[in-house]
Protein backbone atom coordinates (compact mmCIF):
# COMPACT_ATOMS: atom_id res chain seq x y z
CA UNK A 1 0.00 0.00 0.00
CA UNK A 2 1.43 3.36 -1.01
CA UNK A 3 1.34 6.45 1.17
CA UNK A 4 -1.44 7.95 -0.97
CA UNK A 5 -3.55 4.87 -0.68
CA UNK A 6 -3.11 4.87 3.06
CA UNK A 7 -4.33 8.48 3.24
CA UNK A 8 -7.24 7.57 0.97
CA UNK A 9 -8.29 4.73 3.24
CA UNK A 10 -8.04 6.89 6.32
CA UNK A 11 -10.13 9.62 4.72
CA UNK A 12 -12.75 7.12 3.59
CA UNK A 13 -13.04 5.48 7.00
CA UNK A 14 -13.21 8.85 8.75
CA UNK A 15 -15.80 10.13 6.28
CA UNK A 16 -18.08 7.12 6.58
CA UNK A 17 -17.64 7.07 10.34
CA UNK A 18 -18.70 10.68 10.65
CA UNK A 19 -21.68 10.14 8.33
CA UNK A 20 -22.80 7.03 10.23
CA UNK A 21 -22.78 9.07 13.42
CA UNK A 22 -25.28 11.66 12.11
CA UNK A 23 -28.59 10.00 13.11
CA UNK A 24 -27.46 9.88 16.74
CA UNK A 25 -27.48 13.69 16.93
CA UNK A 26 -30.58 15.31 18.34
CA UNK A 27 -32.64 17.68 16.21
CA UNK A 28 -30.60 16.91 13.15
CA UNK A 29 -33.55 15.84 11.00
CA UNK A 30 -32.92 18.44 8.36
CA UNK A 31 -29.27 17.50 8.00
CA UNK A 32 -30.30 13.86 7.96
CA UNK A 33 -32.66 14.54 5.07
CA UNK A 34 -29.87 16.18 3.11
CA UNK A 35 -27.41 13.45 4.02
CA UNK A 36 -29.87 10.79 2.93
CA UNK A 37 -30.24 12.44 -0.46
CA UNK A 38 -26.51 12.82 -0.88
CA UNK A 39 -25.88 9.22 0.10
CA UNK A 40 -28.55 7.92 -2.24
CA UNK A 41 -27.19 9.83 -5.22
CA UNK A 42 -23.62 8.93 -4.27
CA UNK A 43 -24.44 5.24 -4.64
CA UNK A 44 -26.34 5.82 -7.88
CA UNK A 45 -23.78 8.12 -9.46
CA UNK A 46 -20.72 6.15 -8.36
CA UNK A 47 -22.14 2.85 -9.60
CA UNK A 48 -23.15 4.58 -12.83
CA UNK A 49 -19.60 5.81 -13.28
CA UNK A 50 -18.16 2.34 -12.64
CA UNK A 51 -19.75 1.37 -15.93
CA UNK A 52 -19.89 4.59 -17.92
CA UNK A 53 -16.48 5.92 -16.94
CA UNK A 54 -14.34 3.31 -18.66
CA UNK A 55 -16.81 2.39 -21.45
CA UNK A 56 -17.93 5.94 -22.44
CA UNK A 57 -21.49 4.59 -22.80
CA UNK A 58 -24.13 6.96 -21.43
CA UNK A 59 -26.65 4.87 -19.56
CA UNK A 60 -30.10 6.32 -18.90
CA UNK A 61 -31.31 3.11 -17.32
CA UNK A 62 -30.85 4.15 -13.67
CA UNK A 63 -34.55 4.94 -13.21
CA UNK A 64 -35.48 1.54 -14.62
CA UNK A 65 -33.20 -0.32 -12.18
CA UNK A 66 -34.31 1.88 -9.29
CA UNK A 67 -37.95 1.17 -10.14
CA UNK A 68 -37.35 -2.56 -10.52
CA UNK A 69 -35.75 -2.69 -7.08
CA UNK A 70 -38.71 -0.87 -5.57
CA UNK A 71 -41.14 -3.16 -7.40
CA UNK A 72 -39.51 -6.29 -6.01
CA UNK A 73 -39.84 -5.02 -2.44
CA UNK A 74 -43.41 -3.79 -2.96
CA UNK A 75 -44.49 -7.13 -4.36
CA UNK A 76 -42.79 -9.23 -1.71
CA UNK A 77 -42.60 -7.33 1.56
CA UNK A 78 -45.49 -9.21 3.13
CA UNK A 79 -43.95 -12.60 2.43
CA UNK A 80 -40.19 -12.25 2.70
CA UNK A 81 -37.92 -10.47 5.18
CA UNK A 82 -36.40 -7.22 3.97
CA UNK A 83 -32.73 -8.32 3.74
CA UNK A 84 -33.74 -11.17 1.43
CA UNK A 85 -35.76 -8.76 -0.70
CA UNK A 86 -32.85 -6.36 -0.86
CA UNK A 87 -30.74 -9.14 -2.30
CA UNK A 88 -33.47 -10.19 -4.72
CA UNK A 89 -33.95 -6.58 -5.83
CA UNK A 90 -30.26 -6.25 -6.57
CA UNK A 91 -30.38 -9.51 -8.43
CA UNK A 92 -33.37 -8.37 -10.49
CA UNK A 93 -31.51 -5.19 -11.40
CA UNK A 94 -28.49 -7.23 -12.37
CA UNK A 95 -30.50 -9.59 -14.56
CA UNK A 96 -32.23 -6.69 -16.30
CA UNK A 97 -28.86 -5.07 -16.91
CA UNK A 98 -27.49 -8.32 -18.33
CA UNK A 99 -30.40 -8.63 -20.77
CA UNK A 100 -30.16 -5.01 -21.93
CA UNK A 101 -26.39 -5.24 -22.10
CA UNK A 102 -26.35 -8.41 -24.16
CA UNK A 103 -28.81 -6.91 -26.66
CA UNK A 104 -27.14 -3.55 -27.07
CA UNK A 105 -23.58 -3.39 -25.78
CA UNK A 106 -22.05 -5.01 -28.84
CA UNK A 107 -23.25 -2.08 -30.92
CA UNK A 108 -22.42 1.58 -31.06
CA UNK A 109 -23.04 3.84 -28.08
CA UNK A 110 -25.95 5.64 -29.73
CA UNK A 111 -28.08 2.50 -29.81
CA UNK A 112 -27.40 1.99 -26.16
CA UNK A 113 -28.42 5.54 -25.20
CA UNK A 114 -31.65 5.25 -27.18
CA UNK A 115 -32.47 1.88 -25.73
CA UNK A 116 -31.98 3.01 -22.16
CA UNK A 117 -33.78 6.34 -22.76
CA UNK A 118 -37.19 4.67 -22.89
CA UNK A 119 -36.44 1.65 -20.73
CA UNK A 120 -37.94 3.06 -17.53
CA UNK A 121 -41.12 4.03 -19.39
CA UNK A 122 -41.36 0.59 -20.99
CA UNK A 123 -41.05 -1.22 -17.67
CA UNK A 124 -43.42 1.23 -15.99
CA UNK A 125 -46.08 0.36 -18.56
CA UNK A 126 -45.50 -3.36 -18.22
CA UNK A 127 -45.64 -3.25 -14.42
CA UNK A 128 -48.80 -1.13 -14.62
CA UNK A 129 -50.33 -3.65 -16.99
CA UNK A 130 -49.57 -6.50 -14.60
CA UNK A 131 -50.97 -4.48 -11.71
CA UNK A 132 -54.13 -3.68 -13.62
CA UNK A 133 -54.81 -7.04 -15.23
CA UNK A 134 -53.16 -9.77 -13.18
CA UNK A 135 -52.68 -8.84 -9.55
CA UNK A 136 -55.33 -6.08 -9.62
CA UNK A 137 -53.61 -3.85 -7.13
CA UNK A 138 -53.41 -0.10 -7.54
CA UNK A 139 -50.84 1.35 -5.20
CA UNK A 140 -49.14 -0.75 -2.56
CA UNK A 141 -48.45 0.55 0.92
CA UNK A 142 -45.08 -0.83 1.92
CA UNK A 143 -45.17 -0.63 5.70
CA UNK A 144 -42.00 -2.23 7.06
CA UNK A 145 -39.98 -2.05 10.25
CA UNK A 146 -37.30 -0.13 8.40
CA UNK A 147 -36.95 3.07 10.45
CA UNK A 148 -35.62 6.34 9.03
CA UNK A 149 -32.25 5.80 10.73
CA UNK A 150 -31.91 2.30 9.39
CA UNK A 151 -32.80 3.41 5.88
CA UNK A 152 -30.00 5.93 6.09
CA UNK A 153 -27.50 3.39 7.41
CA UNK A 154 -28.46 0.92 4.72
CA UNK A 155 -27.80 3.49 2.02
CA UNK A 156 -24.53 4.38 3.70
CA UNK A 157 -23.55 0.71 3.74
CA UNK A 158 -24.38 0.50 0.03
CA UNK A 159 -22.19 3.54 -0.55
CA UNK A 160 -19.31 1.89 1.30
CA UNK A 161 -19.86 -1.27 -0.71
CA UNK A 162 -19.88 0.54 -4.04
CA UNK A 163 -16.58 2.22 -3.21
CA UNK A 164 -15.10 -1.09 -2.12
CA UNK A 165 -16.27 -2.81 -5.30
CA UNK A 166 -14.92 0.05 -7.39
CA UNK A 167 -11.57 -0.15 -5.61
CA UNK A 168 -11.41 -3.90 -6.16
CA UNK A 169 -12.30 -3.57 -9.85
CA UNK A 170 -9.49 -1.09 -10.39
CA UNK A 171 -7.08 -3.67 -9.04
CA UNK A 172 -8.53 -6.61 -10.92
CA UNK A 173 -8.01 -8.06 -14.38
CA UNK A 174 -11.39 -6.55 -15.29
CA UNK A 175 -10.20 -3.06 -14.42
CA UNK A 176 -7.02 -3.59 -16.41
CA UNK A 177 -9.02 -4.84 -19.37
CA UNK A 178 -11.38 -1.85 -19.16
CA UNK A 179 -8.49 0.60 -19.18
CA UNK A 180 -7.25 -0.95 -22.40
CA UNK A 181 -10.72 -0.99 -23.94
CA UNK A 182 -11.24 2.61 -22.93
CA UNK A 183 -8.04 3.62 -24.68
CA UNK A 184 -8.49 1.62 -27.84
CA UNK A 185 -11.07 -1.05 -28.38
CA UNK A 186 -9.35 -2.48 -31.43
CA UNK A 187 -6.09 -3.00 -29.57
CA UNK A 188 -8.05 -4.60 -26.76
CA UNK A 189 -9.76 -7.13 -29.00
CA UNK A 190 -6.45 -7.97 -30.68
CA UNK A 191 -4.88 -8.73 -27.34
CA UNK A 192 -7.65 -11.21 -26.58
CA UNK A 193 -9.86 -9.10 -24.31
CA UNK A 194 -13.53 -9.97 -24.49
CA UNK A 195 -14.75 -6.37 -24.56
CA UNK A 196 -18.52 -6.92 -24.79
CA UNK A 197 -18.38 -9.36 -21.88
CA UNK A 198 -16.41 -6.93 -19.72
CA UNK A 199 -18.90 -4.15 -20.46
CA UNK A 200 -21.85 -6.35 -19.56
CA UNK A 201 -20.26 -7.27 -16.21
CA UNK A 202 -19.79 -3.61 -15.30
CA UNK A 203 -23.32 -2.78 -16.40
CA UNK A 204 -24.68 -5.58 -14.24
CA UNK A 205 -22.82 -4.18 -11.24
CA UNK A 206 -24.30 -0.72 -11.78
CA UNK A 207 -27.76 -2.25 -12.25
CA UNK A 208 -27.39 -4.16 -9.01
CA UNK A 209 -26.64 -1.04 -6.99
CA UNK A 210 -29.35 1.15 -8.52
CA UNK A 211 -31.95 -1.55 -7.87
CA UNK A 212 -30.77 -1.92 -4.27
CA UNK A 213 -31.18 1.83 -3.75
CA UNK A 214 -34.73 1.63 -5.13
CA UNK A 215 -35.45 -1.25 -2.77
CA UNK A 216 -34.35 0.77 0.25
CA UNK A 217 -36.12 3.95 -0.87
CA UNK A 218 -39.50 2.32 -1.30
CA UNK A 219 -39.56 1.58 2.42
CA UNK A 220 -39.03 5.29 3.01
CA UNK A 221 -41.63 6.49 0.51
CA UNK A 222 -44.06 3.73 1.59
CA UNK A 223 -46.54 4.30 -1.19
CA UNK A 224 -45.48 2.28 -4.23
CA UNK A 225 -47.00 3.01 -7.56
CA UNK A 226 -45.06 2.64 -10.80
CA UNK A 227 -45.80 6.19 -11.95
CA UNK A 228 -43.80 7.69 -9.10
CA UNK A 229 -40.89 5.23 -9.13
CA UNK A 230 -39.95 4.83 -12.77
CA UNK A 231 -39.10 8.52 -12.97
CA UNK A 232 -36.82 9.39 -15.93
CA UNK A 233 -35.59 12.48 -14.09
CA UNK A 234 -33.64 10.22 -11.72
CA UNK A 235 -31.57 8.91 -14.63
CA UNK A 236 -30.77 12.42 -15.82
CA UNK A 237 -29.85 13.64 -12.35
CA UNK A 238 -27.46 10.73 -11.90
CA UNK A 239 -25.77 11.34 -15.25
CA UNK A 240 -25.30 15.02 -14.57
CA UNK A 241 -23.97 14.54 -11.04
CA UNK A 242 -21.50 11.87 -12.12
CA UNK A 243 -20.24 13.84 -15.10
CA UNK A 244 -20.04 17.04 -13.09
CA UNK A 245 -17.80 15.33 -10.56
CA UNK A 246 -15.78 13.37 -13.07
CA UNK A 247 -15.97 9.71 -13.97
CA UNK A 248 -12.34 8.72 -14.32
CA UNK A 249 -11.77 8.62 -10.56
CA UNK A 250 -13.69 6.48 -8.12
CA UNK A 251 -14.43 9.41 -5.82
CA UNK A 252 -15.20 11.76 -8.73
CA UNK A 253 -19.00 11.44 -8.74
CA UNK A 254 -19.06 12.31 -5.05
CA UNK A 255 -17.67 15.73 -5.95
CA UNK A 256 -20.60 16.17 -8.31
CA UNK A 257 -23.29 14.86 -5.98
CA UNK A 258 -22.48 17.13 -3.05
CA UNK A 259 -22.44 20.52 -4.81
CA UNK A 260 -25.36 19.60 -7.03
CA UNK A 261 -27.59 18.48 -4.15
CA UNK A 262 -26.74 21.57 -2.10
CA UNK A 263 -27.29 23.88 -5.05
CA UNK A 264 -30.65 22.20 -5.71
CA UNK A 265 -31.54 22.77 -2.05
CA UNK A 266 -30.60 26.43 -2.15
CA UNK A 267 -32.69 26.98 -5.27
CA UNK A 268 -35.62 25.19 -3.70
CA UNK A 269 -35.42 27.48 -0.69
CA UNK A 270 -34.61 30.74 -2.35
CA UNK A 271 -37.12 30.45 -5.16
CA UNK A 272 -39.96 28.81 -3.28
CA UNK A 273 -42.10 31.74 -4.32
CA UNK A 274 -41.96 32.74 -7.97
CA UNK A 275 -39.28 35.30 -8.61
CA UNK A 276 -40.94 38.59 -9.40
CA UNK A 277 -39.67 41.68 -11.08
CA UNK A 278 -41.85 44.77 -11.55
CA UNK A 279 -44.82 42.66 -10.51
CA UNK A 280 -44.26 40.16 -13.30
CA UNK A 281 -43.33 36.58 -12.55
CA UNK A 282 -39.91 35.96 -13.99
CA UNK A 283 -39.11 32.40 -13.19
CA UNK A 284 -40.40 29.77 -10.79
CA UNK A 285 -38.42 27.21 -8.84
CA UNK A 286 -39.64 24.30 -10.96
CA UNK A 287 -38.59 25.91 -14.22
CA UNK A 288 -35.37 27.16 -12.73
CA UNK A 289 -34.37 23.68 -11.65
CA UNK A 290 -35.00 22.26 -15.10
CA UNK A 291 -33.06 25.08 -16.68
CA UNK A 292 -30.23 24.57 -14.21
CA UNK A 293 -30.09 20.89 -15.11
CA UNK A 294 -29.77 21.91 -18.76
CA UNK A 295 -27.12 24.52 -18.06
CA UNK A 296 -25.07 21.96 -16.14
CA UNK A 297 -25.18 19.54 -19.06
CA UNK A 298 -23.91 22.25 -21.36
CA UNK A 299 -21.28 23.49 -18.92
CA UNK A 300 -19.85 20.01 -18.71
CA UNK A 301 -19.71 19.56 -22.46
CA UNK A 302 -18.15 22.93 -23.19
CA UNK A 303 -16.00 23.74 -20.20
CA UNK A 304 -15.41 20.84 -17.83
CA UNK A 305 -15.48 17.65 -19.92
CA UNK A 306 -13.42 15.87 -17.26
CA UNK A 307 -15.54 17.11 -14.38
CA UNK A 308 -14.55 18.84 -11.17
CA UNK A 309 -11.93 16.16 -10.59
CA UNK A 310 -10.28 16.92 -13.92
CA UNK A 311 -10.17 20.61 -13.04
CA UNK A 312 -8.70 19.91 -9.61
CA UNK A 313 -6.05 17.64 -11.07
CA UNK A 314 -5.08 20.11 -13.76
CA UNK A 315 -4.79 22.80 -11.12
CA UNK A 316 -2.72 20.57 -8.87
CA UNK A 317 -0.40 19.74 -11.72
CA UNK A 318 0.03 23.41 -12.52
CA UNK A 319 0.78 24.33 -8.90
CA UNK A 320 3.36 21.61 -8.48
CA UNK A 321 5.21 21.20 -11.77
CA UNK A 322 6.68 17.77 -12.13
CA UNK A 323 5.38 16.37 -8.88
CA UNK A 324 1.70 17.19 -9.37
CA UNK A 325 0.60 13.60 -9.73
CA UNK A 326 1.26 12.84 -6.08
CA UNK A 327 -1.76 14.93 -5.12
CA UNK A 328 -4.16 13.10 -7.41
Amino acid sequence: MTRNEGIGWMLAVAGFGAMAFLPLLEDADYLMGLALNITMFTVLATSWALFSGPTHYISLATAAFYGVGATVVAMGFEVLPFPVLLGLAGLAGGVLAALVGLATLRLSGVYFVIFTLGLAELIRQLVSWVQSNIVEVGSIQVFTDNSDNWIYWELLALAALVFLVGWLIERSRLGFAMRIIGNDEVVASHSGIHSAGSKVILFVISGFFAAAVGAVMVTKIINFDPDTFYLPIISFQVVIMALLGGVHRLWGPLLGVIPFTLLWEVIENRFQQPMEMFGVEIVSAGSLKVILLGVCFMLIVYYIPRGVVGRVETLARRLAPGGGASHG
Binding site: G109, I114, F115, F236, G286, S287, L293, F297, V301, Y302
Partner: protein, 296 residues
Amino acid sequence: MDVLITGIYILITGSLLGATYSLIAMGLALQYGVARIMNLANGEMFIAGALVAFWVVTSHQLSPYVSLVFVVPGAFGINWLIYRYLLRPLVRRAKHRGQLEVDSILATFGMGFILVGVLREVFGGELFSYSYLLEPIKILNNNFALNRVIGCLVSALVCGLLYLGFYKTRAGMAMRAVAVDPAAAGLVAIDVPKISALSFALGGAVTAAGGVVISTFLTDMDPSGGVVFTLKALIVVIMGGVGDVRGAIVASFILGLTETLVATLVDPGFILAAAYFLFVLVLLFRPQGLFGRRRA
Protein backbone atom coordinates in the same frame (compact mmCIF):
# COMPACT_ATOMS: atom_id res chain seq x y z
CA MET B 1 -66.59 -8.81 -43.29
CA ASP B 2 -65.77 -7.70 -39.77
CA VAL B 3 -62.21 -8.87 -40.24
CA LEU B 4 -61.95 -6.80 -43.40
CA ILE B 5 -63.32 -3.69 -41.73
CA THR B 6 -60.94 -4.11 -38.82
CA GLY B 7 -58.10 -4.59 -41.26
CA ILE B 8 -58.98 -1.38 -43.06
CA TYR B 9 -59.28 0.41 -39.75
CA ILE B 10 -55.82 -0.72 -38.65
CA LEU B 11 -54.34 0.19 -42.01
CA ILE B 12 -55.78 3.70 -42.03
CA THR B 13 -55.30 4.51 -38.33
CA GLY B 14 -51.78 3.13 -38.49
CA SER B 15 -51.04 5.25 -41.54
CA LEU B 16 -52.41 8.36 -39.89
CA LEU B 17 -50.14 7.69 -36.92
CA GLY B 18 -47.21 6.86 -39.20
CA ALA B 19 -47.62 10.13 -41.06
CA THR B 20 -47.30 11.97 -37.75
CA TYR B 21 -44.17 10.07 -36.82
CA SER B 22 -42.68 10.68 -40.24
CA LEU B 23 -42.48 14.44 -39.71
CA ILE B 24 -40.58 14.31 -36.44
CA ALA B 25 -38.47 11.42 -37.70
CA MET B 26 -37.54 13.21 -40.93
CA GLY B 27 -36.45 16.16 -38.87
CA LEU B 28 -34.15 13.94 -36.85
CA ALA B 29 -33.00 12.05 -39.93
CA LEU B 30 -31.76 15.31 -41.43
CA GLN B 31 -30.08 16.37 -38.20
CA TYR B 32 -28.43 13.06 -37.42
CA GLY B 33 -27.98 11.69 -40.90
CA VAL B 34 -26.55 14.78 -42.55
CA ALA B 35 -25.38 17.14 -39.81
CA ARG B 36 -24.18 14.20 -37.64
CA ILE B 37 -25.86 15.63 -34.53
CA MET B 38 -27.76 13.15 -32.40
CA ASN B 39 -30.30 15.74 -31.31
CA LEU B 40 -32.08 14.62 -28.16
CA ALA B 41 -33.84 17.98 -27.86
CA ASN B 42 -35.84 17.06 -30.94
CA GLY B 43 -38.97 16.22 -28.95
CA GLU B 44 -38.83 19.57 -27.18
CA MET B 45 -38.70 21.41 -30.50
CA PHE B 46 -41.72 19.36 -31.51
CA ILE B 47 -43.61 20.37 -28.34
CA ALA B 48 -42.59 23.99 -28.88
CA GLY B 49 -44.31 23.92 -32.28
CA ALA B 50 -47.40 22.37 -30.72
CA LEU B 51 -47.59 24.98 -27.96
CA VAL B 52 -47.23 27.87 -30.39
CA ALA B 53 -50.12 26.43 -32.39
CA PHE B 54 -52.11 26.13 -29.17
CA TRP B 55 -51.44 29.77 -28.42
CA VAL B 56 -52.46 30.85 -31.91
CA VAL B 57 -55.74 28.97 -31.64
CA THR B 58 -56.72 29.94 -28.11
CA SER B 59 -55.69 33.58 -28.04
CA HIS B 60 -56.30 34.57 -31.65
CA GLN B 61 -59.03 32.15 -32.71
CA LEU B 62 -57.13 31.31 -35.88
CA SER B 63 -56.62 27.95 -37.56
CA PRO B 64 -53.66 26.10 -36.04
CA TYR B 65 -52.15 25.74 -39.50
CA VAL B 66 -51.79 29.51 -39.68
CA SER B 67 -49.04 29.18 -37.11
CA LEU B 68 -46.93 27.30 -39.66
CA VAL B 69 -46.30 30.67 -41.29
CA PHE B 70 -44.05 31.71 -38.44
CA VAL B 71 -43.29 28.40 -36.72
CA VAL B 72 -41.38 27.07 -39.72
CA PRO B 73 -39.13 30.09 -40.36
CA GLY B 74 -38.79 30.68 -36.60
CA ALA B 75 -37.67 27.13 -35.91
CA PHE B 76 -35.38 27.24 -38.93
CA GLY B 77 -33.68 30.37 -37.61
CA ILE B 78 -33.37 29.14 -34.04
CA ASN B 79 -31.96 25.80 -35.12
CA TRP B 80 -29.53 27.46 -37.49
CA LEU B 81 -28.24 29.60 -34.62
CA ILE B 82 -28.03 26.56 -32.34
CA TYR B 83 -25.98 24.69 -34.89
CA ARG B 84 -23.77 27.62 -35.78
CA TYR B 85 -22.90 28.72 -32.25
CA LEU B 86 -23.41 25.71 -30.00
CA LEU B 87 -22.88 22.61 -32.08
CA ARG B 88 -20.35 23.66 -34.69
CA PRO B 89 -17.62 24.01 -32.01
CA LEU B 90 -18.33 20.44 -30.93
CA VAL B 91 -18.06 19.18 -34.52
CA ARG B 92 -14.79 21.01 -34.97
CA ARG B 93 -13.14 19.74 -31.81
CA ALA B 94 -14.34 16.12 -32.10
CA LYS B 95 -11.48 13.76 -32.89
CA HIS B 96 -13.77 10.99 -34.06
CA ARG B 97 -17.45 10.32 -34.59
CA GLY B 98 -17.87 8.59 -31.24
CA GLN B 99 -16.77 11.67 -29.35
CA LEU B 100 -19.09 13.90 -31.35
CA GLU B 101 -21.95 11.55 -30.54
CA VAL B 102 -21.34 11.68 -26.78
CA ASP B 103 -20.83 15.45 -26.83
CA SER B 104 -23.87 16.15 -28.97
CA ILE B 105 -26.04 13.88 -26.86
CA LEU B 106 -25.06 15.68 -23.67
CA ALA B 107 -25.25 19.15 -25.18
CA THR B 108 -28.66 18.59 -26.75
CA PHE B 109 -29.91 17.05 -23.50
CA GLY B 110 -28.94 20.33 -21.88
CA MET B 111 -30.72 22.32 -24.59
CA GLY B 112 -33.77 20.11 -24.18
CA PHE B 113 -33.98 20.82 -20.47
CA ILE B 114 -33.49 24.54 -20.98
CA LEU B 115 -36.22 24.51 -23.60
CA VAL B 116 -38.58 22.67 -21.24
CA GLY B 117 -37.95 25.29 -18.55
CA VAL B 118 -38.50 28.16 -20.95
CA LEU B 119 -41.69 26.64 -22.41
CA ARG B 120 -43.03 26.04 -18.93
CA GLU B 121 -42.38 29.64 -18.01
CA VAL B 122 -43.92 31.00 -21.19
CA PHE B 123 -46.96 28.76 -21.40
CA GLY B 124 -47.51 27.66 -17.78
CA GLY B 125 -48.38 24.22 -16.48
CA GLU B 126 -52.05 23.96 -17.39
CA LEU B 127 -53.84 21.39 -19.48
CA PHE B 128 -53.21 22.36 -23.10
CA SER B 129 -56.06 21.21 -25.21
CA TYR B 130 -58.17 22.78 -27.90
CA SER B 131 -60.71 21.41 -30.32
CA TYR B 132 -60.05 21.63 -34.04
CA LEU B 133 -62.20 19.84 -36.63
CA LEU B 134 -63.29 17.37 -34.00
CA GLU B 135 -65.67 15.62 -36.35
CA PRO B 136 -65.97 12.09 -37.59
CA ILE B 137 -65.30 11.25 -41.22
CA LYS B 138 -66.45 7.92 -42.59
CA ILE B 139 -64.00 5.96 -44.72
CA LEU B 140 -64.94 2.41 -45.76
CA ASN B 141 -67.28 1.77 -42.83
CA ASN B 142 -64.92 3.13 -40.21
CA ASN B 143 -65.00 6.45 -38.42
CA PHE B 144 -61.88 8.59 -38.29
CA ALA B 145 -61.23 12.01 -36.82
CA LEU B 146 -61.22 14.69 -39.49
CA ASN B 147 -58.35 16.53 -37.76
CA ARG B 148 -56.16 13.43 -38.04
CA VAL B 149 -56.96 12.96 -41.70
CA ILE B 150 -56.13 16.60 -42.45
CA GLY B 151 -52.96 16.24 -40.37
CA CYS B 152 -51.97 13.23 -42.41
CA LEU B 153 -52.48 15.13 -45.67
CA VAL B 154 -50.37 18.04 -44.43
CA SER B 155 -47.66 15.60 -43.34
CA ALA B 156 -47.72 13.92 -46.74
CA LEU B 157 -47.37 17.31 -48.42
CA VAL B 158 -44.35 18.24 -46.29
CA CYS B 159 -42.76 14.83 -46.82
CA GLY B 160 -43.32 15.09 -50.55
CA LEU B 161 -41.71 18.52 -50.73
CA LEU B 162 -38.73 17.33 -48.72
CA TYR B 163 -38.36 14.27 -50.89
CA LEU B 164 -38.31 16.40 -54.03
CA GLY B 165 -35.87 18.79 -52.45
CA PHE B 166 -33.62 15.97 -51.37
CA TYR B 167 -33.49 14.17 -54.70
CA LYS B 168 -34.10 16.89 -57.29
CA THR B 169 -32.14 19.93 -56.16
CA ARG B 170 -28.45 20.76 -55.92
CA ALA B 171 -28.67 21.47 -52.20
CA GLY B 172 -30.39 18.12 -51.74
CA MET B 173 -27.67 16.36 -53.65
CA ALA B 174 -25.05 18.09 -51.50
CA MET B 175 -26.90 16.94 -48.40
CA ARG B 176 -26.94 13.38 -49.61
CA ALA B 177 -23.23 13.59 -50.34
CA VAL B 178 -22.49 14.88 -46.85
CA ALA B 179 -24.67 12.15 -45.39
CA VAL B 180 -22.56 9.51 -47.11
CA ASP B 181 -19.16 10.94 -46.30
CA PRO B 182 -18.49 14.47 -45.03
CA ALA B 183 -14.78 14.29 -45.78
CA ALA B 184 -15.24 13.16 -49.36
CA ALA B 185 -18.00 15.73 -49.86
CA GLY B 186 -15.54 18.42 -48.83
CA LEU B 187 -13.15 17.29 -51.54
CA VAL B 188 -15.69 17.85 -54.31
CA ALA B 189 -16.19 21.49 -53.39
CA ILE B 190 -19.22 21.06 -51.17
CA ASP B 191 -19.29 23.55 -48.32
CA VAL B 192 -19.78 20.92 -45.61
CA PRO B 193 -20.28 23.28 -42.63
CA LYS B 194 -22.89 25.26 -44.58
CA ILE B 195 -24.76 22.17 -45.75
CA SER B 196 -24.66 20.73 -42.23
CA ALA B 197 -26.07 23.93 -40.75
CA LEU B 198 -28.74 24.00 -43.44
CA SER B 199 -29.71 20.39 -42.74
CA PHE B 200 -29.85 20.92 -39.02
CA ALA B 201 -31.99 24.03 -39.37
CA LEU B 202 -34.27 22.37 -41.90
CA GLY B 203 -34.61 19.35 -39.62
CA GLY B 204 -35.63 21.60 -36.73
CA ALA B 205 -38.20 23.38 -38.91
CA VAL B 206 -39.74 20.10 -40.07
CA THR B 207 -39.91 18.86 -36.49
CA ALA B 208 -41.63 22.02 -35.27
CA ALA B 209 -44.08 21.76 -38.17
CA GLY B 210 -44.80 18.24 -36.98
CA GLY B 211 -45.62 19.70 -33.57
CA VAL B 212 -48.15 22.05 -35.16
CA VAL B 213 -49.78 19.13 -36.96
CA ILE B 214 -50.02 16.94 -33.89
CA SER B 215 -51.41 19.74 -31.73
CA THR B 216 -54.60 19.58 -33.79
CA PHE B 217 -55.48 16.20 -32.34
CA LEU B 218 -53.39 15.61 -29.25
CA THR B 219 -55.52 15.79 -26.11
CA ASP B 220 -52.82 16.95 -23.82
CA MET B 221 -49.56 18.67 -24.47
CA ASP B 222 -47.11 19.11 -21.67
CA PRO B 223 -43.87 21.13 -21.92
CA SER B 224 -42.04 18.16 -20.41
CA GLY B 225 -43.69 15.58 -22.66
CA GLY B 226 -41.19 15.82 -25.49
CA VAL B 227 -39.09 12.84 -24.54
CA VAL B 228 -41.75 10.39 -25.73
CA PHE B 229 -41.57 11.86 -29.20
CA THR B 230 -37.80 11.96 -29.15
CA LEU B 231 -37.82 8.27 -28.39
CA LYS B 232 -40.20 7.44 -31.22
CA ALA B 233 -38.18 9.55 -33.64
CA LEU B 234 -34.96 7.84 -32.58
CA ILE B 235 -36.44 4.39 -33.05
CA VAL B 236 -37.73 5.34 -36.48
CA VAL B 237 -34.42 6.84 -37.60
CA ILE B 238 -32.40 3.87 -36.41
CA MET B 239 -34.92 1.49 -37.95
CA GLY B 240 -34.95 3.29 -41.28
CA GLY B 241 -31.21 3.59 -41.55
CA VAL B 242 -29.22 6.65 -40.59
CA GLY B 243 -29.04 9.34 -43.24
CA ASP B 244 -31.82 8.07 -45.43
CA VAL B 245 -35.04 10.06 -45.73
CA ARG B 246 -36.90 7.25 -47.50
CA GLY B 247 -35.96 4.88 -44.69
CA ALA B 248 -37.35 7.28 -42.11
CA ILE B 249 -40.67 7.50 -43.95
CA VAL B 250 -41.02 3.74 -44.39
CA ALA B 251 -40.02 3.08 -40.78
CA SER B 252 -42.55 5.65 -39.54
CA PHE B 253 -45.34 3.77 -41.23
CA ILE B 254 -44.10 0.42 -39.94
CA LEU B 255 -44.08 1.81 -36.42
CA GLY B 256 -47.51 3.43 -36.76
CA LEU B 257 -49.04 0.25 -38.18
CA THR B 258 -47.44 -1.99 -35.58
CA GLU B 259 -48.62 0.19 -32.72
CA THR B 260 -52.17 0.33 -34.02
CA LEU B 261 -52.20 -3.39 -34.70
CA VAL B 262 -51.09 -4.18 -31.17
CA ALA B 263 -53.47 -1.66 -29.59
CA THR B 264 -56.43 -2.97 -31.58
CA LEU B 265 -55.83 -6.70 -31.53
CA VAL B 266 -53.75 -7.34 -28.42
CA ASP B 267 -53.88 -4.69 -25.70
CA PRO B 268 -53.30 -0.93 -25.60
CA GLY B 269 -50.90 -1.58 -22.71
CA PHE B 270 -48.31 -3.05 -25.06
CA ILE B 271 -47.86 -0.18 -27.53
CA LEU B 272 -44.46 0.84 -26.25
CA ALA B 273 -43.44 -2.77 -25.79
CA ALA B 274 -44.23 -3.32 -29.47
CA ALA B 275 -42.06 -0.35 -30.45
CA TYR B 276 -39.21 -1.76 -28.38
CA PHE B 277 -39.69 -5.18 -29.87
CA LEU B 278 -39.27 -3.70 -33.35
CA PHE B 279 -36.22 -1.84 -32.17
CA VAL B 280 -34.60 -4.97 -30.75
CA LEU B 281 -35.34 -6.90 -33.93
CA VAL B 282 -33.56 -4.25 -35.97
CA LEU B 283 -30.63 -4.16 -33.54
CA LEU B 284 -30.22 -7.91 -33.69
CA PHE B 285 -30.77 -8.57 -37.37
CA ARG B 286 -30.17 -5.36 -39.29
CA PRO B 287 -28.22 -2.88 -37.17
CA GLN B 288 -27.52 -0.68 -40.20
CA GLY B 289 -31.29 -0.12 -40.62
CA LEU B 290 -33.71 -1.01 -43.39
CA PHE B 291 -32.16 1.27 -45.99
CA GLY B 292 -28.81 1.85 -44.36
CA ARG B 293 -25.43 0.83 -45.60
CA ARG B 294 -23.14 -1.10 -43.32
CA ARG B 295 -20.67 1.28 -41.74
CA ALA B 296 -17.04 0.58 -42.59
